[in-house]
């Protein structure tokens, strides 16, 4: 692992494992993970469904006990000091989990009072988010749109001014505009000094984080800044295009010079085994060198992991 900056760590994870028993067989959800999140950073945990993101988050937020390993969040041990820790963390689960039969305002006030604080006391922190949903403050949470629910959930997770915020797939099932707005909110929260851990299955969101960890099958594959991660990709990458995309994909898959090819938007991304490899392209196809993004790297790691 790369040497970390001198900043104090927000989260330290040491050799953490967790497995479940499903139908009498053991299922390893998190497999001996270790990493650190520097305080005050926006840290992304990127991985496909079932990679172990939620399990890891539930352990970090004291909801689940790890089978092995140690977790320190904001200097507190997540197992031994869980009571003190709960006052300092904010958690927004992947599934909307506020009271649908209470209004926006009642939900926020209720969670504020459980943390022995008040809406007014920490209003400045959530002001910008709250203002967007304020016109509906007397509407029941169950009658809100997906984007508004998500903003309300963020308000409730922030109302006690946590020092670390855990967001489990906050943008899953949210439209593109709301997603963009949401990431802008996170960037602003970072300037308030809050450490943010966010998990997402969307690769394009990785570039918005300060650091990202790529996770698959309960293991961390790579952990770095998004730029470094992309730099790590040293294979030649091309975008290929032709009027007949599917036959092109089928044909190139069989080509000996091609390491990997996959559909990517309206083109196919093609990874070659080496720079000098020659590919047999059909006449109507075009090929162009492109810069890899984080998704290319992830697919590369996923396919060549074993």
């Amino acid at each position: 692992m790369e040497k970390l900056s001198s900043k104090p760590a927000g989260v330290i994870i040491e050799g953490v494992s967790k497995s479940y028993t499903v139908n009498k067989s053991k299922l390893v959800a998190v497999n001996n993970i270790s990493f650190e999140v520097p305080a005050g950073t926006l840290f992304g945990l990127i991985g496909p469904d079932g990679a172990g993101k939620t399990t890891l988050f539930r352990m970090l937020t004291t909801l689940l006990l790890p089978d092995a390993g140690n977790i320190w969040v904001d200097g507190l041990n997540a197992v031994a000091d869980y009571k003190a820790l709960r006052k300092k963390i904010g958690y927004m689960p992947g599934k909307f989990s506020l009271y649908t039969d209470l209004t926006i305002q009642e939900n926020i006030h209720f969670f504020a009072s459980l943390f022995e604080t008040s809406f007014e006391e920490n209003y400045d922190l959530i002001k910008e988010i709250y203002e967007q949903i304020a016109p509906f403050k007397d509407r029941r949470a169950g009658q809100l749109s997906g984007g508004m629910k998500q903003k309300l959930a963020l308000c409730c997770a922030l109302i006690h001014r946590p020092s670390i915020l855990f967001l489990d797939e906050p943008t899953t099932g949210v439209d593109a505009v709301s997603r963009k707005e949401f990431w802008e909110i996170l960037q602003k929260l970072k300037t308030e000094g809050i450490t943010i851990l966010v998990s997402t299955p969307y690769m394009d969101e990785a570039s918005l984080c300060d650091r990202v960890a790529l996770i698959q099958d309960g293991k961390i594959m790579q952990i770095d800044t998004p730029q470094h991660i992309v730099d790590h990709f040293d294979k030649p990458l091309y975008a290929v295009k032709s009027p007949k995309m599917l036959p092109l994909l089928k044909m190139l898959e069989k080509d000996a010079a091609v390491l990997d090819i996959y559909p990517f938007g309206e083109v196919h991304h093609m990874v070659l085994k080496s720079k000098d490899s020659k590919v047999n392209l059909p006449e109507d196809a075009t090929m162009q060198v492109i810069k890899p993004n984080i998704e290319d790297l992830f697919i590369y790691l996923m396919r060549n992991h074993e």
Partner: protein, 372 residues
């Protein structure tokens, strides 16, 4: 300020926003208390009787007249062949067959004794045995009046006779409603309380809200108490609605004090709600919780002493009813409503419920984990 206050505020808001709960509290008890005691009549009327009369004498006709005049029996067939009567029994038209033998009258006068034959359809056991008992009663009376009228008084007065006369204490007219209504009220309070509490925590699990609660610093004890208190209040409200119905519709006013009843109910509800919360914290979804609650309630209700007397149960069942909170409340309810018992009289039941509630609720708090 204690976080309990905020939890209670939230729970009450949720309850009053749920129209189903409000209906359960006010409308259901009224309907049930009016309907059930009216329908659940322990007296059996309209027993269908088939009479086979092989005698046709005036005495046998007099007997049949007495039977049909009693209001309990409806004459469905009157024949002189046993087979036709048997057919009506088999086709379920008749519940009883009374066969009057040939020479009934003659033998009664000459030989001073004769036999009657009685066949009972015992598919509905209660109807069969009660019908037979009623009929026996009528024949006894008939027999007695025949002796007094026809036989020489001197010879029979030599035989000493024991006459039993009974008086019914605490419920002189044997009005079954007086003991059914308070019993049904107990069942209502129990069913409403246990159902509401058993689906509550599990609902938070299903909605995912429990996750959000679990990451807060709130104490388990406060959380459970916040769930218990609203349903405790609702239980007492249901009981009050029930008492009003019992008074307005049936004119039942407890002989003992309302205070004694509420005092006991307050402790009793802790047991019932504790069981509900326990089911809730072990269940994974509302369907599971509802099924388990239904099963437990069914056993509690049927073995609670309202429909079958606990005293006539086998020994092991009697021991089992000691674990059944309903049996305690029904007993207390009858003692206070019919006998006017005071707190001192129901002390054993109070102590049993106190112990029960402590065990169940500690278990409920321990079984709820804020982390897994």
């Amino acid at each position: 300020m204690s976080p309990l206050r905020y939890i209670l505020e939230k729970e009450f808001k949720q309850i009053f926003r749920n129209p189903a709960i409000l209906k359960t509290i006010f409308i259901l008890p009224v309907i049930q208390l009016i309907m059930l005691p009216m329908a659940a009549d322990y007296e059996i009327k309209n027993i269908n009787i088939a009479v086979v009369n092989n005698d046709h004498g005036s005495l046998s006709i007099e007997l049949v007249q007495q039977i049909t005049a009693s209001n309990y029996f409806k004459l469905v067939s009157y024949t002189n062949g046993f087979n036709t009567a048997m057919e009506s029994l088999e086709s379920d038209k008749a519940d009883l067959i009374l066969e009057i033998p040939k020479d009934f009258e003659k033998r009664l006068f000459k030989e001073k004794e004769t036999n009657l034959f009685l066949a009972v359809n015992a598919i509905n056991g209660v109807k069969g045995s009660l019908g037979a008992a009623y009929l026996n009663n009528i024949i006894q009376t008939f027999n007695q009046s025949f002796r007094n009228k026809e036989l020489v008084p001197g010879r029979f007065s030599e035989i000493p006779q024991i006459q039993i006369s009974s008086s019914n204490w605490y419920n002189p007219k044997m009005n079954y409603r007086i003991f059914m209504v308070p019993g049904i009220l107990v069942l209502l309070v129990t069913i409403v309380g246990m159902n509401l509490s058993s689906i509550n925590i599990v609902r938070e699990k299903e909605m995912g809200t429990i996750e959000q609660i679990n990451v807060t610093p709130i104490q388990k004890f406060h959380f459970i108490l916040g769930k218990l208190i609203p349903f405790w209040v609702i239980g007492l409200i249901v009981m009050s609605v029930g008492f009003i119905v019992a008074w307005v519709v049936y004119g039942i006013i407890p002989l003992g004090s309302y205070f004694t009843l509420y005092f006991f109910a307050a402790i009793y509800l802790l047991v019932i709600l504790g069981i509900g919360l326990l089911i809730s914290s072990y269940s994974e979804n509302q369907q599971q919780a509802m099924l388990v609650t239904f099963f437990i309630l069914m056993i509690f209700v049927l073995m609670g002493g309202l429909y079958t007397s606990i005293d006539s149960m086998p020994e092991w069942a009697k021991w089992f009813t000691k674990l059944n909170p309903i049996s305690y409340f029904i007993e207390v309810m009858r003692m206070v409503v019919l006998k006017g018992s005071s707190i001192k009289d129901i002390l054993p039941q109070i102590l049993a419920m106190l112990g029960y509630s402590v065990v169940i609720n500690i278990w409920a708090v321990l079984s709820y984990h804020k982390r897994s």
